[in-house]
Symmetry: C2
Subunit: 204 residues, 2 copies
């Protein structure tokens, strides 16, 4: 055999073994469970990947509910797109702007409570396959909403519904309650390193 | 003042200072640059957040190109949804299944080359605001595609176009070349810890 053919044969044999091990493992797995999913950390991608999942659901004709707890000053692309599917997505951009923009804690608390009530409504409705609580961790961090209210609602969650919670600084007790937790770690960011502002299509 | 009113006043004063510092910083930032974006790490959300960005672009009427270098055995929700916007998204699910499914290195190399040629075509076309090279890091890791070809194409990238590369084990030289790098770190995963299979809407 030539070197190349040998390398290919070695690779194919190795992959055969990996597949056998994987097939055995997969036979022991279960199929379905509504998950509590947390995206936290300082890196990019917490909300983006939640909206990527929303898009997957809509693509599969599964209904999604979204509550944005912290609304930015711009109209986001994800809101614009999901609004094109009113039967499959209920989208609520609630809350005021970034916490440093509002400078009004009393108002922030009031808006957080309104947003949470909307979230609860969707979490109790089995027609929603997924409910996304975008940036709720920020609201929890500033005590705009009692953590215990959120934890007990998650404990009583509908068994088949996925609930996704995003935002940096997820509380430890929330991480304990979750099934799937990813920390987005910032390795490089052009905002910090190159002085580039948030850009359309990338951040909003 | 009551305790609550005091706490609110303290919070609002603090936010006022944060806003002043932020406004000063933002005045020094620049507005626009096509970014090289890398999502890597073992955690969830690498492809989801790339597709979240694709959705943002489509929402803003910006054109997106997608090449999937590793195609799974299912039809993904993101493919289904993005195909509803043929004027704004060109979607190519290329490559075979997972590397352990194909067990045919020669074929994997051939498909990687075809996928890369499609990617290059879109990267040379300024009508694309964003090009997503999904799971290209896997292809690079197995040497199905020469890393130098990818690095030199990125060095000659169109200045306004964003290019997003996903997949675990991003090569160090790719990370050096990138503007924005996020590592998705797995904290908890129900596949490992609870034996739950990949679920519709969450993983595909």
């Amino acid at each position: 055999m030539t070197d190349d053919a040998e390398q290919n044969a070695r690779h194919d044999g190795k992959m055969k073994k990996i597949k056998a091990a994987r097939d055995k493992m997969m036979a022991q797995k279960i199929d379905k469970k509504g998950l509590i999913i947390v995206h936290t950390g300082k890196g990019k991608g917490k909300s983006s990947s939640a909206f990527g999942m929303a898009m997957r659901c809509v693509g599969h004709d599964m209904k999604v509910g979204v509550v944005q707890f912290i609304k930015g000053g711009w109209e986001t692309g994800e809101a614009k797109l999901l609004k094109k599917f009113p039967d499959l997505c209920e989208f609520h951009a609630m809350g005021a702007g970034f916490t440093w923009e509002t400078q009004n804690r009393a108002k922030d608390i009031e808006l957080a409570r309104e947003a949470w009530n909307k979230a609860l409504e969707m979490m109790r409705d089995p027609s929603f396959a997924m409910v996304i609580l975008d940036e709720i961790n920020i609201v929890l961090r500033y005590d705009f909403l009692p953590l215990d209210d959120v934890l007990s609602a998650l404990a009583d969650k509908l068994p088949d519904q996925h609930v996704v919670l995003t935002g940096r600084n997820a509380p430890d007790t929330l991480i304990e309650a979750a099934d799937l937790v990813t920390e987005m770690t910032m390795i490089k960011h052009p905002f910090r390193e190159q002085g580039i502002k948030a850009q359309i299509g990338v951040e909003f």
